[in-house]
Structures are given as structure tokens and as C-alpha cells.
């Protein structure tokens, strides 16, 4: 992608995604948790297909474009599940081995007609894609799914791509939301959104629902997760950048003891430290995106890059939002003021797909194994 294209995309994304705190608050504790018509607008701009190759009617722009979009959506606290559906779920379908299901569903995902969620973690969570909570027993030429999958974005998805363990290994299956035996329990989160706990009680799958067979499910999952981890990091960058800007503004204007509190050296130094963390996060994101975009990137390099940026961005976003609250004083703790929206969203996204600590551990394992 040329610099010009990137800049144009950034401008149009920033132009589209403006913070609307009334809308953000309206979607708290709401089902569905996002606006399908906004999702449609994003589809119309081609955003849902930036990671889909042109061969499948996507834009094929790659990770560089996806993170630009994700950052702007994060900056404006958009509740639409870009990373979860357009990155995580879409990539797991794309890197599966069912041409039929790709032909059927990629266009619908791209066009914004379908929203899909990837169900890959067991009840205890964790970053090990081989650990899933769903078993698939063979019966009469079909599969019977039993078990639980947790921390699934998006509770309001039209369908789930489910990781399930068969006798042959891990497979991914496309399960419609209204499949018999599937129960979806929302688990509320700090920002008023919810993730889903899926319970599978003799849910039927088959060769026809198989998105990825045992020969490619693990690599597909690992890739999809790594890309979405980078996407989530971009979202965190947007969140922390906005929170810091709000705080700097406050420091410049709030007067106590006859002076703008931003003139106090102690606060200036603390603000600078936050700025440094934000800049480190941005640099880490650019580096990670470049690594993922490089065709010669190995799976280890990809995983290390993803963990590197998520560890940094998760830590920085929480540090910035917490310090922002302290610097604002009591007003920052009110719901009426917007800072809490950033803090609560940072809590959610920093924990999703592995928090800072989990990614430091993974980064270390990769480095030590090399």
C-alpha cells in the first residue's frame, strides 16, 4: 500500500468515525450491541474486505489498512465489532480449506450482510489455540458438538465459527446462531458491551459446515488470532490517544490555586511519561504491521510481533486512562464526563485476546525457543 493510499484511508476513516458519546452510551447494555446500519456504511466503504483478497471480491489492502481503520474506530469508541468480525472471524474462514463456504460467506461478510464471531477459547481462556472447550463426536456421518466456548465476540453475531476437537484433530465449523442446541449467554463487560459464553448441547455439524479441516485449522486460527491481536492493539492506540488528548486539554484549562493545573511541573512530567508510552505504542504498531505485511514473515515472527504490540498497547492504554482519571480529579470519575468511556473500553480491549502479561509470556516463550 502506498503512503498516499494510507493517508487517504486515514483521513477518510478519521472523517467517518467521530466520537458521539450519546450513541456510545446508548449501546451500553443493549442487544444488539452495535448498529447494523453503521456496519453497512463501513461495508459500503470497503472496510470489511480490506483483508479479503481481490480473488474473493475484497480490497486486498492488508494489515496496514486494517490497523488504520481499527485505530480510528477505537479513537471514536465505535461499538461495531470490526476486529472481531472483519479480522478474527473473516480470516479464520479465509485461511480455512472450504472453497464452498468461502464462496458462500466471504461476499456476505464483505457486504455487511453477515456478522460472524470466532469461538475458539475454553472457559478458562488463554492464548493456546489448541485448547478449545468443544468436542465433536462423530455420529451417523455427522458431528455432535458438546461443550463450551467463552469470551466470544460477538454475542449478536449471525453465525459462529467454532473451534471443536474431533478424532482427527481441531476443526472449524460454521454454526448458525439459531442452530438447535446452541445457547448464547452474554457476560457483561466494563464498557457495557458483552462477550458470549456459548454452550453446545448436541449441536449438529457436518462436512458441509466445515470451514477448516484438521490439516489447516490450527494454522488458520493462529493467523487469525495474531492479526486480530494487532487490530485490537490499534484500537487501544486510538483509545489512549483520545484519552491523552482529553487530559492535556483539561490540564491546560482547569484552574485551581489561581493557575492552570497543567502549569504544575509534577503534572507536566507525568503527562510527558504518558506521551512516551503512547509514542512507543504507535511505533510498536507500525513495526508489527510491517512484520505481518512482509511475505517472508514466519509464524514465529508474526506471533512475536503481535504479542509485542499487544503487550505494549494494553499496558500503555491502562496506564494512560488511569493517570488521566487521576489528573482530572473527581469529574473524571463521573459518568457524565467522557473519560470513563475510554477507561472502561480500555479495560475491555486490553483484556481481550490476551492481556499485557499473557503476551509478555508468549513473547518470551517465542524468543527463548528461537
Amino acid at each position: 500500500m502506498s503512503d498516499d493510499t494510507l493517508r487517504m484511508l486515514r483521513d477518510s476513516a478519521a472523517d467517518f468515525a467521530k466520537l458521539d458519546p450519546v450513541r456510545v452510551r446508548r449501546f451500553r447494555n443493549a442487544h444488539p450491541g452495535f448498529d447494523r446500519s453503521v456496519w453497512q456504511q463501513m461495508a459500503d466503504m470497503g472496510w470489511l474486505g480490506v483483508l479479503i483478497p481481490e480473488a474473493h471480491q475484497g480490497m486486498g489492502l492488508g494489515i496496514g489498512a486494517a490497523v488504520i481503520i481499527a485505530e480510528q474506530l477505537g479513537r471514536a469508541l465505535y461499538p461495531e465489532p470490526y476486529c472481531a468480525s472483519a479480522m478474527l472471524a473473516t480470516l479464520s474462514l479465509l485461511h480455512g480449506d472450504s472453497e464452498e463456504l468461502k464462496q458462500r460467506y466471504l461476499p456476505q461478510l464483505n457486504a455487511g450482510k453477515l456478522v460472524a464471531g470466532l469461538a475458539w477459547q475454553g472457559e478458562g481462556g488463554g492464548l493456546d489455540v489448541a485448547q478449545c472447550g468443544v468436542l465433536a463426536r462423530e455420529h451417523d456421518g455427522k458431528f455432535v458438538l458438546e461443550g463450551k466456548s467463552r469470551f466470544v465476540e460477538i454475542p449478536d453475531a449471525d453465525a459462529f465459527i467454532v473451534s471443536a476437537r474431533t478424532a482427527h484433530g481441531l476443526e472449524l465449523h460454521w454454526i448458525a446462531r439459531d442452530a438447535a442446541g446452541l445457547a448464547c449467554t452474554p457476560e457483561p463487560r466494563a464498557d457495557g458491551s458483552a462477550s458470549a459464553l456459548l454452550s453446545f448441547d448436541r449441536v449438529i455439524a457436518s462436512a458441509a459446515t466445515r470451514v477448516a479441516s484438521a490439516s489447516c485449522a490450527l494454522p488458520a486460527l493462529k493467523l487469525a488470532v495474531d492479526y486480530a491481536v494487532v487490530g485490537a492493539s490499534a484500537e487501544l492506540l486510538g483509545i489512549m490517544d483520545s484519552a491523552l488528548a482529553l487530559t492535556l486539554d483539561y490540564l491546560r484549562t482547569r484552574v485551581q490555586f489561581g493557575k492552570a493545573i497543567g502549569s504544575f511541573q509534577a503534572l507536566q512530567h507525568r503527562a510527558v511519561d504518558l506521551y512516551i508510552q503512547k509514542e512507543l505504542s504507535r511505533a510498536a504498531l507500525e513495526s508489527a504491521s510491517a512484520t505481518l505485511a512482509d511475505p517472508s514473515c514466519t509464524t514465529e515472527q508474526r506471533a512475536a510481533a503481535a504479542s509485542s504490540v499487544k503487550a505494549r498497547a494494553s499496558q500503555a492504554a491502562l496506564a494512560i486512562c488511569n493517570e488521566a482519571l487521576q489528573m482530572h480529579g473527581a469529574i473524571g470519575f463521573t459518568d457524565e464526563y467522557d473519560l470513563g468511556l475510554y477507561l472502561n473500553r480500555a479495560l475491555v480491549v486490553s483484556a481481550w485476546l490476551g492481556n499485557a502479561s499473557a503476551h509478555r509470556r508468549r513473547y518470551s516463550s517465542i524468543l527463548e525457543a528461537a
Binding site: Q121, G125, A190, Q256, D335, S350, A351, A358
Partner: protein, 389 residues
């Protein structure tokens, strides 16, 4: 007359151990379990029965002198009472009548004011809230702008108070208001008592980022209060307000909240299988030591209060260390909870249901209220370290 309250016995005649055992038994036996260690401030509807029980026993005002309806506890017995309360997870009575108005009237008030206001406080018939902070007077409280103009035998009050704890449950409010605009900041302020139902007062709850409504804005529009509701001298309200009692100043630095945080941290760690992880163990030990040493230093200041001596400005370090340690614990809880770290309310973890974010939402504002930690550091820097200002 001790304001209609009779004490069962002379508490100070008991040994500390006897008194502690007696108090502990009462709390453990009679305090409702489901109200212990609440994740947020409780409303009168939730815990009113407990305080009515305390009032009936004569235990509602443990620090007040017996002749004014209190238990008349010595400083060391008072500390024991508070420790046992905290140990049982009993929320402190949010009533500023007990915490502030009573002690202030006992020290600065007229006999008429005591006769009018102490009995309903002791009976929990009147509940008080505190009107200090304003939108433009937070850390710089002395710059408050709410005005009190004397008109004949009344004061007329105009302005706005904010961050008033549980004003929704209060029947009365005390305010600091500017009664002399020409005097220096702290020297033109008066301490006034108000009926919250007086015409011109409107109370608006503030929703916080955790979704709770524990604080209110209070708008004062030409509110009239009799001149007899002035406490202490005119324009000397700052002195009245500053007379915070010794164990109130150290309460905010108590290790009990961080200790509770450590309990939650251990529960989460156990569910995540982290108690055997050496990295986690080291981090846990660091926090355990932070809390242990907080306890040591709290004990040092408590002993000063227990001897009836005055606390110096060094006590500010207690608030800083207690609140920031609690924050570090809350942050480690979130980190240890992993994929659950962004989940709200009671979260299923293994075989338990744990409110992972409750300590976080409690810890975050604690470095802001009660004198922000920045202000506390200023006090230490100027008055203890004698750094130039």
C-alpha cells in the same frame, strides 16, 4: 442528661481484650452477612436496620463523650471498635451527623444547638451529608464560592455543592459558605446547618463510571436557614471544618481495604492456578509486604491517637501509601484475571463467582477524595521535608 442514651457499662473499665471480644461477638453475631464487604456504598434502605440496632444499643456514636450520648470510648478502645468493624467488613456509617456534626457541635456549638440536633442524630432520625466541594473548588476548597448572606435572623445561601456523599438519603446538610467576600480566602467562610427539605435545595445524584450513584450535586437557590444554625463564629468556619478528629485522619490510611484486596487477589490467583507461579508469587509477596508495612506504620500513628496526642503532618503519608497500594493490588487482580479482566459484576471463575473490577472501582477514586494524593504530597514536601515552596 446524656441525650436519652444509656450505656450498658463503663467500657473503658474493661481490658482491651475483653472489650474487643465483646464488640467482635456483637458484630459477628448480629451484622447481616450479605452486607459485609460491600463493593459499593450502601443506601439507608439496605443497611438502615443495622444502624437502628446500633442506635438502640447506644453504640451509634462510639467516639462521642458519654454526657452527649456516646460510648465515651478512650482513644485506644475507639481504635479497637473501628478495627473490629473493619475486620467484619461492616461499612462505616456514612452519616456525617455522627462523624462531623456531633463532634463539631460538642466542641464549637451552643447548648441550644446540641439539644436540637444531637438526639435525632443518636436516634438515626436525622441523617446528615457534607456540602464542601464545588465544581470550581476541589483541591482548592478554600476558593469555594457558595455564598451566605445574612438577612435579619436568617442566612440566605446561593451556590452549588458537588460530590456530596449519599445526599439522597440525608435529611440535613452542613455547608461551608462564603460569608465575607472581602476577607482572605480561608477567613471569610462560615459553617452552616441546613434542612435538606428547605425550599431552594435540589439534589441530583451523580452516576459514576462504575454505574453507581453514591454522590450528588446539590443546588442551593436562595435557601434560608435561621442564624441560629451558624456553628462557631461567623467567618471562622474553616477552623471548624478543619477540626477533624485524630482517628478520622488515620482511618483513610487503614490497611483493612488493601487487606481485603489481597483476599480477592488470592481468590482470583487460585482460580487461575497462579499461586504456584513463581513470577506471580514474587509480585504477590511485594504487595503483601507493602500492606504489612502499611499496617506497621498505621499502628505507629494509631498509637499516637491512642495516647490522645496530636498527629503531625507526617500522617499524610498513610493516605498516600494505603490508597496507592490498594490500586496496585486492584491492578494485579485485573491482570491475574486474564480474559476475565474486563468483565463487570460477578464473574464466573472456576468454581467461584468473583467481582473482579469492584476493588478497581473502589481504589481509583481513593487517591482523589479525602484530599488528593497530590495535595498530601505537597503537605509532606512543605511541612515535613521543608522543601521550599
Amino acid at each position: 442528661m446524656s441525650y436519652g442514651v444509656t450505656q450498658e457499662q463503663e467500657w473503658n473499665a474493661l481490658s482491651d481484650e475483653e472489650f474487643r471480644a465483646l464488640v467482635r461477638t456483637e458484630f459477628e453475631t448480629h451484622h447481616p452477612r450479605h452486607l459485609r464487604f460491600p463493593p459499593r456504598r450502601l443506601r439507608w434502605a439496605e443497611n438502615g436496620d443495622w444502624y437502628l440496632r446500633m442506635a438502640a444499643k447506644g453504640w451509634i456514636a462510639p467516639s462521642w463523650p458519654r454526657e452527649f450520648g456516646g460510648m465515651g470510648l478512650s482513644p485506644s478502645k475507639m481504635l479497637i471498635f473501628l478495627e473490629e468493624q473493619e475486620r467484619c467488613g461492616i461499612a462505616r456509617f456514612q452519616d456525617h451527623g455522627i462523624l462531623m456534626v456531633g463532634p463539631v457541635l460538642i466542641r464549637f456549638g451552643t447548648e441550644a444547638q446540641r439539644r436540637r440536633y444531637l438526639p435525632p442524630i443518636l436516634a438515626c432520625e436525622e441523617i446528615w451529608c457534607q456540602g464542601y466541594s464545588e465544581p470550581n473548588a476541589g483541591s482548592d476548597l478554600a476558593s469555594l464560592r457558595t455564598e451566605a448572606a445574612q438577612e435579619g435572623d436568617e442566612f440566605v445561601i446561593d451556590g452549588q455543592k458537588t460530590w456530596t456523599t449519599l445526599a439522597q438519603d440525608a435529611t440535613h446538610m452542613f455547608v461551608l459558605a462564603r460569608s465575607d467576600k472581602n476577607a482572605k480566602k480561608q477567613e471569610g467562610i462560615s459553617f452552616l446547618l441546613l434542612d435538606i427539605k428547605a425550599p431552594g435545595i435540589s439534589v441530583r445524584p451523580i452516576r459514576d463510571i462504575a454505574g453507581h450513584e453514591e454522590f450528588c450535586e446539590v443546588f442551593l437557590d436562595h435557601v434560608r436557614t435561621p442564624a441560629s444554625n451558624l456553628v462557631g463564629e461567623l467567618n471562622r468556619g474553616w477552623t471548624v471544618a478543619k477540626s477533624l478528629l485524630g482517628f478520622e485522619r488515620i482511618h483513610i490510611g487503614s490497611p483493612k481495604l488493601p487487606e481485603y484486596g489481597l483476599q480477592v487477589l488470592r481468590s482470583v490467583a487460585r482460580q487461575q492456578g497462579m499461586l504456584d507461579d513463581p513470577v506471580f508469587r514474587e509480585r504477590l509477596a511485594r504487595l503483601q509486604l507493602d500492606v504489612a508495612h502499611l499496617g506497621d506504620i498505621y499502628g505507629h500513628f494509631a498509637a499516637i491517637v491512642g495516647r490522645g496526642e496530636q498527629l503531625g503532618p507526617e500522617v499524610s503519608l498513610l493516605k498516600i501509601w494505603a490508597t496507592e497500594t490498594f490500586q496496585r493490588i486492584a491492578d494485579l487482580i485485573i491482570e491475574t484475571a486474564g480474559d476475565c479482566g474486563g468483565h463487570a459484576g460477578d464473574v464466573r471463575m472456576g468454581d467461584q463467582s468473583i467481582d473482579i473490577l469492584a476493588p478497581f472501582y473502589k481504589a481509583r477514586p481513593s487517591t482523589i477524595y479525602g484530599g488528593s494524593n497530590e495535595i498530601q504530597r505537597n503537605i509532606l514536601a512543605r511541612q515535613v521535608l521543608n522543601l521550599p515552596g
